[in-house]
Structure formats: C-alpha cells, structure tokens
C-alpha cells in the first residue's frame, strides 16, 4: 500500500520528479479508476466544473483520445487543440499561445510537443497544472505509468523483474520514462538497439545496454518493443527495414529465450514486420491492448491526484 496520499508537485512533467511512493500512489489510484470503466454509467462527477485543455502539437491518436476519455469519465470540461488549424500554424510561439490560453483560466493543461522541455516551459509560465503527454525525446510519464500498471497486473510486482526494451533508444521518450520508473521501482532494465540509435548516458540511468537482441530477451519477464519511425529508415540510422527486422525484430523464435511466462508490450502504433512479428503482437503473451485500456485508468488517476493537489509548489 502506498505510504503517501497526495503528490508533492502540482504538475506531472516526468517520472524523474516522482518518488517510488508517489508512483505507487498513482498505480493504486489507477486500479480503483479502472473499476469506473466497468460500470453501467462510466462517469463520476469528481472534476465537474474543471476545465482541461489538451494541446497536441504533435500528431497523436491514442494518447489524445485516452486523455480525453479520462477527462470525460471524471466529468471535466475539455478543450482540444491540434497544430493544424490553430494559431501555431500561423507562426505564434509556444509562449504566446500559452499566455493566450492561460487567459482563459484552464485548471489543467495536457501538452504534447516535439520540443523536449515544452511541458516544463509551460509549467514555469502557467498557473494551471501541466501534464506532460510527451515532450520531444525527453519524457512520456503517463506511458511509463500505464506500462507499470500493466506489468504489475500480470506479474504482481515490479521489483526484481527483468525488463528488456528494444528498438530506437535514441529518439524514445517512452524508453526514458520507463527506464526511470522501472529502476526506481527496483526492476532490472536492459536496453537494446542498433549502435546508431543508442544515446549516451543510459548506464547513468541504471540501464544496461546491448546490441544483441537475443541477449536482451534472454530470461526477460517483460519484453517492451519500441516503435521505429519509418522516416529514420531512409536516413542515416538504418540501412533497410528488412535488415532491422532480421537483427532486432521480435519473433516467436526469439521470444523462446525469454522467461516462460514473459509478456510482450508495445506503446503503439506498431509497425508489424518491422520491430514486431504479427504472430508475436497477436499472441497470448501480448498485453498491448491491456496497455491501451490501462492508459485511461492511469490518466484518470493522474488528473484526479493533480486536481486534489493542495500543497505548495
């Protein structure tokens, strides 16, 4: 059971700012929130009268819809903005957009932005609580939290598990947030990717790095595949899709090296035949759809805990 009952910060900018007790609190609250989604009326009045703005400066389907659903289930009033058709496409800076929106006095702002640190920037200038829905290659905290919830549901714990994370490590905020969360909670993290896509500094996060996918998967309780963006294929990073799949793709054969009851995760959207074989994505070990369902519960928990925030800072 969690030892704290509130979060210390007014914003959720990253996993870096959370301590293990706070992570436990979010996960525990999410378990309760999940039940709301099973009711005949999937809505509770908790955030009635609160205004939440969803600012998505980068394309997103599941994260945006997941946040919207979470907000609606808590009865908040929501406003959405995507880059196309907004003043951003007319050349307004993020700071000016933020000031303008702030004048409409939202209680919370959910932001996804291609620049790392965008959410931190808003947190410094806005009175609203800021939730980072992905900033550049930095962090995607709610993704890591929903992954943790999914792992805990299947494995009953996080501590002591061996988690392999495979794919484009350099451009992945999912990796960063997951590595931070999992190591804080006592799991062992092994990251694997092509040499051109391994950022420096992973060992400092407590992550072991390998370039051999078989080594990463060996004995793993959880295999987390990261999306490889097609645009990186044509660039300098990778010679071809086929080579990537041959060297790093997760197949049923490779999965045989993992622990007998291993689970396979993917933050989506998946590239079948690039980072993951269809038979793996659709197999009994796949918890990919659980991740989506848990996303709503985790976001409800985060919105609720931030709305409840009464401390300083």
């Amino acid at each position: 059971m969690s030892t704290v009952t509130t979060l210390r910060h007014r914003h959720l900018l990253g996993i870096a700012e959370l301590d293990p007790a706070e992570i436990e609190l979010v996960l525990e609250s999410a378990v309760a929130m999940k039940e709301v989604g099973t009711r005949p009326i999937k809505k509770v009045p908790t955030l009635r009268g609160r205004t939440i703005m969803n600012l998505f400066f980068e394309s997103s389907t599941r994260t945006r819809m997941s946040f919207e659903l979470a907000e609606k289930r808590l009865s908040a009033d929501t406003l959405g903005m995507t880059t196309s058709g907004s003043s951003l496409s007319k050349g307004e800076t993020l700071a000016d957009t933020a000031r303008t929106l702030e004048a409409m006095a939202p209680d919370m702002i959910v932001i996804r932005h291609h620049a790392s640190g965008a959410a931190h920037h808003l947190a410094r200038t806005c009175r609203a609580s800021i939730i980072n829905a992905g900033d550049g290659t930095h962090e995607h905290p709610t993704q890591a939290l929903l992954d943790a919830l999914t792992i805990r549901e299947r494995k009953g714990r996080l501590a002591g598990l061996r988690v392999a994370i495979v794919g484009d490590l350099a451009h992945s905020r999912v990796l960063r947030s997951n590595a931070l969360l999992l190591t804080k909670m006592g799991a062992e993290v092994i990251a694997c990717g092509p040499a051109t896509l391994v950022p420096p500094g992973l060992p400092r996060l407590g992550v072991r790095v390998t370039h051999a996918v078989d080594e990463a998967v060996e004995g793993a309780d959880v295999v987390m595949m990261l999306r490889v963006q097609r645009e990186r294929m044509e660039g300098l990073y990778l010679p071809s899709v086929r080579e990537y799949f041959t060297l790093f793709g997760l197949t049923t054969r490779r999965l045989e090296r993992a622990a007998p009851d291993a689970i396979v995760m993917h933050p989506g959207p998946m590239n079948r035949g690039v980072e993951i074989e269809s038979a793996v994505a659709d197999g009994p070990w796949s918890v990919i759809l659980d991740q989506v369902a848990n996303g709503v519960a985790v976001r409800m928990a985060v919105l609720y805990l931030l709305a409840e925030f009464r401390g300083e800072g």
């Binding site: 309760a32 908790t46 928990a301």
Partner: protein, 176 residues
Amino acid sequence: MAIVMDADRMARSLARMAHEILERNRGLDDLALVGIRARGVPLAERIAAQLRALTGSEVPTGALDITLYRDDLMQHQVGPQPVIRRTEITFSIDGRLILLVDDVLYTGRTVRAALDALIDFGRPSAIQLLALVDRGHRELPIRADYVGKNLPTSRQQTVHVRLVEIDGRDEVEVEG
C-alpha cells in the same frame, strides 16, 4: 478520551440491528448490503453474517468507495486525504432494497456522496441507511434507519471507530 462502546456492546448492537432489519423488511428476498469504505465494509459483512445466522439466506454484499463523489475536493480538511479504493458491487442493484452501511453518521455528506454513487449503478427500489454511531450535527436532511448508538458529541470532538478487521480490535472512542 473515553471508550463509549466495547467489543461486547458492539456485537450486541449489530445483532439488534440485524433483528430490526428483519422485522422491518419482512424477509430478505430483495435485500443487498453495501458498505461504505473503509469501515462500512466489514460492518456490512458482519450484518450479512448475522442475517445468515438468523434466516439461513445469503445477502449479497458490496463495497462502495465514495472518494470520487466527495464535495470537498481541494478544500482544506483535517487529517490525511483518503486514497481512492476500488468499488466492488458485483450484483445488479436494480429493483433491490439497498442497505447502506457506515460506521459514523455525522454531517451526512458522506451519505449524500454514497447515494449519488449508488444511483449511478442503477435504480434500487429503496435505499436504507445503517450507522454504527450517530453523532449528530447533520448538515443535510439525512437520517439513519438503523442506529447502533446515538452519541451526543461536540464538533470539536473526534469519534474513532475501530474494527478487528482493520484495526485489530472492536471499540468506539470519543476523543477531545
């Protein structure tokens, strides 16, 4: 600091209320118990056990967390914030007589929230309320159908209900 109810008296109160429930409802066919978390849940289970002993029939029992229905989100209050817990009502409440069970009836705001929460689950034929302790000071037009003990208190006092299942012993204490 005074113990106003010990384990013996608590057991007798619960037994008496079980009899009152039977007498008033002439049978248990449509009855279901819903305990308000945290301490209403073990109390509801104990009442269900009493009813089983008296009639041989099993009364469905659920648990309700009212945190998401509170009206004091972001308002300062005494004591730590409750962590939200799962609501577990595995039966349909439609057309049923629902008996809400809580440990202390005070301002009535918890019961108000519980009524709102319950009605989101369906349409019971009626809702009744059982409280182990009624300490007065209602802020809403709410009363209990079954009361274990009426306890005159001042607003400055605190009432602690302790149950074996959660606290390791059965007692009610008034502090201050």
